[in-house]
């Protein structure tokens, strides 16, 4: 069963990378979201997920049952989910702002800080040097 999980995660990684390479800045951010999700799942998978029993010590017992889920990756993933989410919010706002400022959302044309060489410029020198 774990192999199915691995396959699913890989497919999500592929989909997320595809979105990340999109020329639409919104899809770029969504690609980040998908990749983040996939990463969280991969981390969760490290704990060898098994049964459905949550890692909660039952009444009467002093320690965690042997068949309960692994609590450590869960704690890590919880952290990761929240931080990833905060980053995504910031990313969305930033992307929206940049998109409004440029008047379009084509990533390939965001070049305010990277002037292109003008047509007549000396081809032996990199852009910006004359």
């Amino acid at each position: 069963m774990t192999i199915l999980l691995a396959l699913a995660i890989s497919l999500c990684v592929a989909a997320g990378t595809w979105l990340l390479l999109s020329r639409d800045v919104f899809r770029l951010i969504m690609g980040l979201a998908v990749l983040g999700n996939a990463a969280n799942l991969a981390l969760f998978m490290a704990g060898r997920p098994g049964g459905m029993t949550p890692p909660v010590i039952v009444e009467g017992a002093a320690t965690l049952a042997a068949d309960a889920a692994n609590p450590l990756p869960q704690a890590l993933v919880l952290t990761a989910i929240v931080i990833g989410f905060a980053l995504l919010c910031f990313g969305l706002v930033l992307a929206a702002r940049v998109s409004r400022a440029h008047g379009h959302s084509d990533v390939g044309a965001y070049q305010v800080s990277e002037p292109q060489a003008s047509p007549g410029q000396d081809a032996t020198k990199p852009p910006l040097m004359d």
């Binding site: 010590i57 929206a96 990533v107």
Partner: protein, 897 residues
């Protein structure tokens, strides 16, 4: 005359630097009288690499040392006079002294690394000296040219020396020479020879690396006289001479040296006839002399060593004075172009005398040391079996040398003045004595040979061990020599008389400027610049999507390489029912969501698909025994969708789909597929490596007993790893603070009409609903320690509540009902969390070690802080975006794309 003109007041002081070379010279002479050669001295330097600071002075080195310090003394004196009115002389003397020391080190070094070090040091100091007049662009260019060529040669030299060390097993020059006869069959030897010779040829300006030397004439004359006639350019010759005993029997060595030497000698001689600048003429003839020296070293004759050493010596003794004469002329008249210089002997008699004496030696006339040198050369040639052509070529070379001597000595000083001489004065004493002294030394050695004999012979024996030590001047076949000299001198006379006509003829040869070695060098540099610019344009295209592709491609290559190195274990079980149908459903939904997001056309559809993927992973968490995670993921995904949907209008300026170019799609597909495959391999390998559950075990065992909590995940987060969580909420708050400038509108947000809910029922129920959800959030917070729940989930639930209120009524109301503004609430949350830790520090074992008083504990405080931080940070986004997402990024801030 004006030879006794009072010198510049500060001039006497500047004779002091000459004490350094003088002192060294005296020490050398004294040492030679006191102690027998060879002297060696060695001290460990980098023991782990076997590198020692090893020096060995034998006769050849001693000869060179005498030349360097002796000529150096006179050069320093000359420089004091030459730079009398120049404020930069301090710098000149400093670098000249450094150069001299480097030169001394290079000719006495025994360890090959030490040799290489001093070799490069001479290149660097030469660069500084050639570029001394650094305001002049031509000087800078020439300095750079000299540096690039000699440094490139230096690298080749290093490689060659290292190869030699590997072949012979010795890191010492003396050891290499001794051990070489046993290793002549080694296949690497040819490479070593070629590389070492590359180094020597670049340093000694052999063809095709010769063109840097005439250009180096932009250096001040003392530098030209010292470096580029007497010392630095002789360094390559020295190295070849030192290695000659080891390689002289090898055909490759002979052919290379004789061939390159001859070509250099002839080529430079011909080019000398093309020059009009006196210094450049002398420079070309220096190159020609170096070519002759190279040729002589390559000769298999046993007399060759004597010829080499004598000519080397004689050349320094006549070329340096000639350069100084050129410097005097320049100093006095302001020009070096021979067209404008004639009849100077009337105003500069002493300079003329020095020029005549030096010219005698150069032309090989009797009475001068050059005569002796030519004698030995003839001897060596006779003994070797040279091609006849080379013999004739050398006659031509000598003839040109004689012609050059004529130009420098006679033409410039005799004849009717070419320009008015009224303002030309003889130069001061400090600039007259050095050239005169040098030429007199040359004459003295010719007339009283026993002074120089022992050292010369000893040095010659180092080069040609088979030399018959009874050879002396008397062994020169007078008859042959005189005949050869006569022919040479006659030809030289013809050339001298026809100088101008020949020059005009040669100046017509344009192809040399376009295709010659120097032109090739320029082409090469320009090509290098073009390559760099092309590369920069590709790699630094300024486009984010291209950068991303390059990043992912690079990362992919590294990942593949890493996987290649690892012993991959890819076994996997295909047990479908291990975890039940729920898993299958969750996984299927997840994949459907992710894949759908890739090809949806509308942005809102992409958003929905990503949301589906998120919910599906929440389902997975639920069915895999992670309820905390499931709740968190559900809430996070919900708020994310709300926020993103609120922002969508801000992206709505453009058509919904932006298509890449067709070729771009293939790369994209390739990169995405590779990323998927790599991650699959990594995950599979991952699963098959054994897992270490010690830590998880420990947490499970100690959660109740030490932290009074049943929910192990929550206990880890707020107790065992509380510090990490503290950092995490700080990050979340930071994300909001960083976004605030982006969220603030260009204009003011004073007036907004409160939105009305679409239905009265919803408006009525909004507030009670809010309070209900808030109550649930508090309940989640309180139960979190022992049941699934906790601060994060509580915070997210509260955010849901606030968002609901903001959507159904308006953000103002939501703000009021939240009681605190988002940013203050978030900061208070962080403060509470820190306070909880401080409690532990003050009253307990340490920071964030929680304390319990009955049922209360600082854990609760911490968790509350977490909840408030999350609630505040996220509502900060929500309110700003729900208000009017189009408001920010207004027309005022539009920049030109």
């Amino acid at each position: 005359m004006d030879a006794t003109r009072p010198s510049h007041p500060g001039e006497r002081r500047w004779l002091a630097p000459a004490l350094l070379p003088l002192g060294l010279f005296v020490a050398l002479v004294w040492g030679l009288n006191v102690q027998d050669l060879p002297w060696s001295w060695s001290v460990p330097w980098i023991p782990s690499l076997g590198i020692e600071l090893a020096f060995r002075i034998d006769a050849l080195s001693a000869q060179m040392l005498a030349l360097i310090t002796g000529v150096g003394t006179l050069i320093f004196v000359y420089a004091a006079g030459y730079m009398a009115h120049d404020s930069r002389r301090g710098r000149l003397f400093a670098v000249l002294s450094l150069f001299m020391l480097a030169m001394l080190g290079a000719v006495s070094a025994d360890h090959i690394i030490v040799l290489f070090l001093f070799w490069e040091l001479t290149s660097v100091t030469s660069f500084l000296l050639v570029g001394f007049n650094h305001e002049d662009a031509k000087a800078r260019e020439s300095a750079r040219q000299a540096l690039l060529i000699t440094l490139a040669g230096g690298l080749a030299l290093l490689a060659g020396l290292l190869l030699l060390a590997q072949i012979t097993g010795s890191w010492f020059l003396s050891g290499i020479v001794q051990a070489m006869p046993a290793h002549t069959a080694d296949p690497r030897l040819s490479w070593a020879i070629v590389l070492v010779l590359l180094g020597a040829f670049t340093k000694s300006a052999q063809f095709p690396f010769h063109f840097w030397l005439p250009n180096a004439m932009s250096a001040p004359t003392p530098v030209s006289a010292y470096l580029h006639s007497a010392t630095m350019v002789k360094l390559g010759i020295y190295l070849m001479a030192r290695l000659d005993p080891a390689f002289n029997d090898l055909l490759l060595w002979e052919i290379l040296l004789i061939g390159v030497g001859t070509v250099t000698a002839v080529w430079a001689a011909v080019l000398a006839l093309r020059e009009r600048d006196l210094k450049r003429i002398l420079a070309r003839s220096t190159v020609s002399a170096l070519g002759t020296l190279t040729l002589l070293i390559g000769l298999p004759s046993s007399q060759a060593g004597l010829a080499v050493i004598t000519f080397l010596f004689a050349h320094a003794l006549y070329k340096a004075p000639l350069f100084m004469v050129a410097g005097n002329i320049d100093h006095a008249t302001g020009t070096r172009v021979i067209d404008n210089l004639m009849g100077l002997r009337r105003v500069m008699p002493w300079t003329a005398l020095a020029a005549i004496l030096a010219g005698l030696s150069m032309a090989g006339l009797p009475l001068a040391f050059g005569f002796v040198a030519k004698g030995f050369i003839a001897d060596a040639k006779a003994e070797a079996d040279l091609f006849v052509m080379i013999g004739y070529a050398l006659v031509l070379v000598n003839a040109v040398a004689a012609a050059v001597a004529g130009v420098a000595a006679i033409r410039v000083f005799w004849g009717p003045p070419a320009a008015p001489l009224a303002r030309v004065r003889e130069v001061p004493l400090s600039m007259l004595l050095p050239p005169l002294l040098l030429t007199l030394v040359g004459i003295e050695f010719e007339l009283f040979p026993h002074l120089a004999d022992p050292l010369l012979l000893a040095a010659a024996q180092v080069i040609s061990p088979g030399l018959d030590s009874s050879a002396d001047y008397a062994g020169v076949a007078m008859q042959q020599l005189l005949t050869a000299s006569a022919i040479t001198l006659l030809t030289g006379l013809v050339l001298f008389l026809a100088w101008d006509r020949i020059h005009k003829l040669l100046a017509e040869v344009r192809w040399l400027d376009r295709w010659g070695p120097e032109a090739e060098y320029q082409h090469f540099l320009r090509g290098l610049g073009r390559l760099a610019a092309w590369h920069a344009r590709i790699m630094q295209s300024g486009r984010l999507d291209i950068y991303l592709r390059l990043l992912l491609a690079g990362g992919g290559v590294m990942a593949v390489y890493a996987l290649w190195q690892v012993d991959l274990k890819l076994a996997a079980d295909f047990d479908w029912h291990a975890h039940g149908w729920a898993w299958l459903v969750a996984l299927a939904l997840m994949v459907i969501g992710a894949l759908a997001a890739t090809f949806m056309r509308e942005r809102i559809a992409v958003l929905m698909a990503c949301g589906l993927m998120g919910y599906a992973s929440a389902l997975l968490f639920l069915f895999a025994g992670a309820p905390d995670l499931a709740f968190t993921q559900f809430s996070v995904e919900t708020v994310l969708v709300v926020v993103a949907a609120a922002l969508l209008p801000a992206f709505a300026l453009q058509p919904q789909t932006v298509r890449s170019a067709a070729g771009g799609t293939n790369v994209r597909l390739l990169l995405a597929a590779s990323a998927g495959v790599v991650s699959l391999l990594v995950l599979l390998h991952f699963i098959n490596t054994p897992v270490d559950n010690t830590l998880a075990q420990w947490f499970g065992d100690n959660s109740l007993s030490q932290a009074m909590g049943r929910n192990v995940v929550n206990v880890i987060i707020v107790d065992f790893r509380a510090l990490d969580t503290l950092g995490e909420i700080i990050v979340v708050v930071f994300a909001l603070l960083a976004a605030r400038p982006l969220l603030q509108a260009a204009g003011d947000h004073g007036d907004q009409t409160p939105r009305r809910a679409s239905s009265p029922l919803l408006a009525l129920s909004a507030k009670p609903l809010y309070l209900l959800i808030l109550a649930v959030a508090l309940w989640i917070l309180l139960r979190g320690h022992n049941e699934p729940g906790g601060g994060f989930i509580a915070g997210l639930a509260a955010v849901t509540a606030s968002s609901l209120l903001a959507i159904l009524v308006d953000t103002r109301q939501a703000l009021r009902w939240q009681l605190l503004a988002p940013v203050p609430m978030a900061l208070i949350g962080v403060a509470l969390a820190i306070a909880a830790g401080v409690i532990g520090a003050v009253w307990g074992p340490g920071f964030l070690r929680h304390l319990w008083f009955g049922g209360l504990s600082s854990v609760m405080l911490f968790d509350l802080g977490v909840m408030l931080a999350v609630w505040g940070a996220l509502t900060g986004y929500v309110y700003a975006l729900l208000d009017d997402p189009l408001r920010f990024g207004d027309d005022h801030s539009r920049t030109n794309p």
